[in-house]
């Protein structure tokens, strides 16, 4: 099964927001949970990025690639990067993988690779 990151489509105005908000940021008109859950596109362009050389203690890596991607539908998402030499504006494609583990839990999120 291919996993996705989901956005929240307002049933009043059709705007897709990510992450979740109780009230639609676009029309402010919907009530609690009046959203349709829709998968976000996985392809997009890299807007900005960093290599974090002081990653949190849950990570056993020297540096952690992080970036903000503008997806094909215009939504933006923060994710991890597995790209050797990232460039602003490059095309990227995401996969849902485990992005963090602590003592008790695994957390799933989007990881971007060169498209």
């Amino acid at each position: 099964m291919e996993m996705s990151i989901y956005g929240y489509k307002c049933i009043k105005c059709g705007h897709v927001q990510y992450p979740y908000r109780t009230i639609c940021k676009n029309c402010h008109k919907n009530n609690h949970n009046e959203f349709e859950i829709v998968p976000l596109p996985k392809k997009g362009k890299l807007l900005t990025f960093t290599h974090l050389y002081a990653p949190p203690s849950d990570y056993e890596v020297v540096s952690l690639g992080l970036g903000i991607v503008e997806l094909e539908d215009g939504n933006r998402i923060t994710g991890q990067l597995k790209i050797d030499q990232p460039q602003i504006g490059m095309s990227v494609a995401g996969r849902v993988e485990v992005v963090r583990r602590d003592e008790y839990n695994k957390y799933w999120g989007i990881v971007f690779y060169p498209a």
Binding site: P19, T50, H51, S57, R76, T78, Q80, I88, V99, R100
Partner: protein, 391 residues
Amino acid sequence: MRDVYAVGIGITSFTRLDYPLVEIAAYPGLMAMRESGLEKIDHLYVANMGASRINHQTGLASAVIDNLSLTPAGAEAIENGPASGASAIKQGYMAVASGLHNIVMVIGAERMREVNNLEATDYVATLTHPMAEYIYGVTLPALAGMFTRLYMLKYGVTARHLAMVAVKNHRNAMNNFFAHLHEEVTLEGILDSPEALTNNPIVADPLRFYDCCPVSDGGACVILATGDIAKKAGKPMVRLAGIGQATDTHAVHDRKEPTDLLAVREAARQSFKMAGIEPGDVDVAELHDAFTILEIAESEEVGFFPRGQGHLALEKGETSLGGILPINTSGGLKARGHPVGATGVAQAHEIIVQLRGQAEKRQVKDARIGFTCNFGGFGNNVVCLTFVKEG
């Protein structure tokens, strides 16, 4: 509404302090009471972010008011991330201006070095969006790194400009007894020499070690009161004339223009409007330089310099001591230090010292109007204060 004045101030050294958080908070309170001659207060606000998580202590304000033997005055703690300090001052202002209280003590205190650096950074990272940012390993330095990369590309800011902020603020801190880092740095040492990469390693590229504030312990206090009480205290009359506060999206990626700090722009606008002044009237400012890029970006957003020209003003020395608008004379977060909950109060402390004319070697000549920008989260909750010296 009644006018509100700063009648007493106090501060600890910002460094690693090996005594309990309650005493880090109480000591500047004691100094402020001694200085103003006040022995009783009506209310206490304590700004703090991490006591329950880092110091295993809740109900901090109740502990501090008892430690100062000021019971039964009311007391409460204010948590608003790294903007807690200025938020607490705002609460103090509202209490005095409304007539509810006549004398309010505002303390900011934090003891972050009770845990190691990784834990301290992780606790600050809990400010980020839990599902859209935190789970990916995003920390505040990571958000600042991504912001800096775009800012450099868009406005031509270079690593040299960032290093110039560090050099300036470290130099200012040399003349501030209470600053965390008493260590002059040079462009050669942190940027140009072959050793620079060792001295100044990359933290979140393009940000390097000397682009980031230290993790500090420390406390600061400002006592706010009515005009009558301020006159009796006998210090130069410094009025809290303007307050502004604004918010922005929780997840940074949600902002239409990722290099805009809209909450800074709006909070500053409100603060200047309330004080009835223009940004150009300000004589001295403390901006929230948790990362060097933020001093440059904020100096534009609050309206001191046109968009994209903050780094040029810095280059010309306009923001250095002796320039037209000295910024972060205390050393800023960069070198005075950043005990998160205390920072907003420490910024106000520096401005009050400057407006009173007590800043000695770092004194800005004839300073009459001072401004602070206290920046919470990555710009999602910002409080700006304007102080005016009267008489």
